[in-house]
Amino acid sequence: MGFLEVEDLKVYFPIKGGLFNRTLGNIKAVDGVSFSIEQGKTYGLVGESGSGKTTTGRAIIGLNDITSGKVLFEGKDLTSKKSKTASVRKDIQMIFQDPYSSLNPKKRVLDIVAEPIRNFEKLSKQEEKKRVQELLEMVGLSPESILKYPHEFSGGQRQRIGVARAIALKPKLIIADEPVSALDVSVQAQVLNFMQDIQKELNLTYLFISHDLGVVKHMCDEIGIMYKGRYVEQGTKQDIFENPQHIYTKRLVAAIPDIDPRHRAEQKQFREDVQREYEQSYNDYFDSEGLAYGLQSVSDTHLVALPEKG
């Protein structure tokens, strides 16, 4: 039994249209996704824009309604109505993509960080303040910051405030939706290091959503690659980066800019080869609607979306 298990998760959004806004069809934002994460590990969810990464994360934490499928957290089914209890929700928190807009600019840091605490616990003003100060210290901000407003902080500091809010209730699982995409490399490094530090300290589990494969490779133990709401490949970091099987994964890996200018020619050649393979074998990897097939396992840890044999 894994720590977090997602089984055949589907999230459809209705397409409204016509004169009276009837439902005409569905956007299959997440279309049958399954994976599991072990406690204390970091699981990366990768894919291009619109592939359904955020929707998956939001569905797990209960911000999007699930069309079908199951989310099991420590064995408890989060999708069944009666277990929508506070204690489970408390254990899962989310960090949002944009540090510039995800914090309410009119609230002080104290109120921002204390918000989840207020929802779940009854603390006196004094205790609450102390808790928030401890949290801020933990994320490397001075305790005096509690009276400041978000605009008085830099991007990296703001993302730390977001992290402080997320860890306020001592969660076990954090869903980090592109936590560093809006940041400079130097600030990105700061946030990534810090996330790794608190992971060790608090034995946190991360679902790490990103489209930057470099960052994912640095952070994650296991990785799932999404394309149009479905999984195309899943495996350990080594499986994905050293032995990618699906043409879409290969294409993603090939597209990462190489930081060593000496590899320029090879990289170009590699990319052209992959592109050629992509064009030639597209039909072997995608069905008639251009969607990925079901996952087949190629090793203990490695699953690839391929058509059924025969």
Binding site: D184, Q190, N193, H218, L252, A254, I259, D260, P261
Partner: protein, 338 residues
């Protein structure tokens, strides 16, 4: 081969904040040759866009000092009419944000066509339309005839960025300034757009200034790289030298903070502190000194200047000779020239 296209001499671009002027670009000197890609890297707020806007003459209320010679003509001090003849024709720019750089109430065809209308006076309407459609095709937009009549909000971010590129290359400029052309895009689309820019250079001999904070993009695209910090160039060299033998502490710190896709290092380097805001920039001494407080202050020059270490490799300040990362000992830092 190396024919000079653009020469920037002692450029200083200052913005007015309250009653004083503060230089966001401070004494920058650069050259760009034809058929060359010059990468400019640096953290947010280091003055990259301010430099690009100065070259294009797009600043509204900035004080610009120094010279910008484009094909030997000083464009920092020319009449608006003459500048408008050059802009969009001989020199063009790709903007950072594809979501806001297009007019929301105009079809994209007309927005591209406008550049042709302004510079190719003898083209007929029909010819312009044909040219726009072939441009859309060239930047890899499917169904160009259809997209011609669409409004920006009907296109995805990647498509809009291509439209912006189509506008920039419409008149086959000799100088192209690309300000973070792919920051808003997915990696696969980024790779396509970068290829497109490369093709442009090969086909038209264009000189390109590529601004980005993605060191991987620079490593793949640039012939030479300038590293900017706090409005100044702190290091400039050809791309191989810069990545193999970076000298300035800032360059080395930046390189060390990138999650390396080749081997998994454990900890990323974090540059202490933040880029100071414009009005708080240190104007004297080594501007980067405040961000490496563990280094003895006496190693900085009083008025740091660019030193030519090797032909074509310039580094500001002498502090690089004494720089080491906090987690390594002084001894193993004696790398490069000393």
């Amino acid at each position: 081969m190396s024919e000079k296209l653009l020469e920037i001499k002692n450029l200083k671009t200052s913005f007015r904040i309250k009653d004083d002027y503060y230089a966001a670009v401070d004494d920058v000197t650069l050259t760009l040759n034809k058929n060359e890609v010059l990468g400019i890297v640096g953290e947010s707020g280091s003055g990259k866009s301010a430099l690009a806007f100065s070259v294009m003459g797009l600043h509204n209320r900035a004080k610009i000092e120094g010279n910008i010679l484009f094909k030997d003509q000083d464009i920092a001090n020319i009449s608006p009419a003459k500048l408008n003849k050059l802009r969009g024709d001989d020199m063009a720019m790709i903007f950072q944000d594809p979501l806001t750089a297009l007019n929301p109430l105009m079809i994209v065809g007309d927005q591209i066509s406008e550049t042709l209308l302004l510079h190719k006076k003898n083209m007929s309407q029909k010819q312009r339309k044909d040219r726009v459609i072939s441009l859309l095709d060239q930047v890899g937009i499917p169904y160009p005839e259809h997209v011609y009549n669409q409004f920006p909000h009907e296109l995805s971010g990647g498509m809009r960025q291509r439209v912006i590129i189509a506008i920039a290359i419409a008149n086959q400029p000799e100088l192209l300034i690309a300000d973070e052309p792919t920051t808003a895009l997915d990696v696969t689309i980024q790779a396509q757009i970068l290829d497109l820019i490369k093709d442009l250079k090969d086909d038209m001999n264009t000189g390109i200034i590529l601004i980005t904070h993605d060191l991987g993009v620079v490593a793949e695209m640039a012939d030479r790289v300038a590293v900017m910090y706090a409005g100044q160039i702190v290091e400039i060299a050809d791309v191989h030298t810069l990545f193999e033998n970076p000298l300035h502490p800032y360059t080395r710190s930046l390189l060390n903070s990138v999650p390396n896709t080749q081997e998994g290092q454990d900890k990323l380097h974090v540059i202490q502190g933040i880029v100071p805001s414009l009005s708080k920039l240190p104007r004297e001494g080594c501007r980067f000194a405040a961000r490496m407080p563990w280094i003895d202050e006496s190693v900085h020059e009083e008025n740091p200047v660019l030193h030519e270490i090797k032909p074509g490799h310039f580094v500001r300040c002498t502090c690089h000779k004494h720089f080491y990362f906090p987690d390594e000992s002084k001894e193993d830092s004696n790398h490069g020239v000393s």
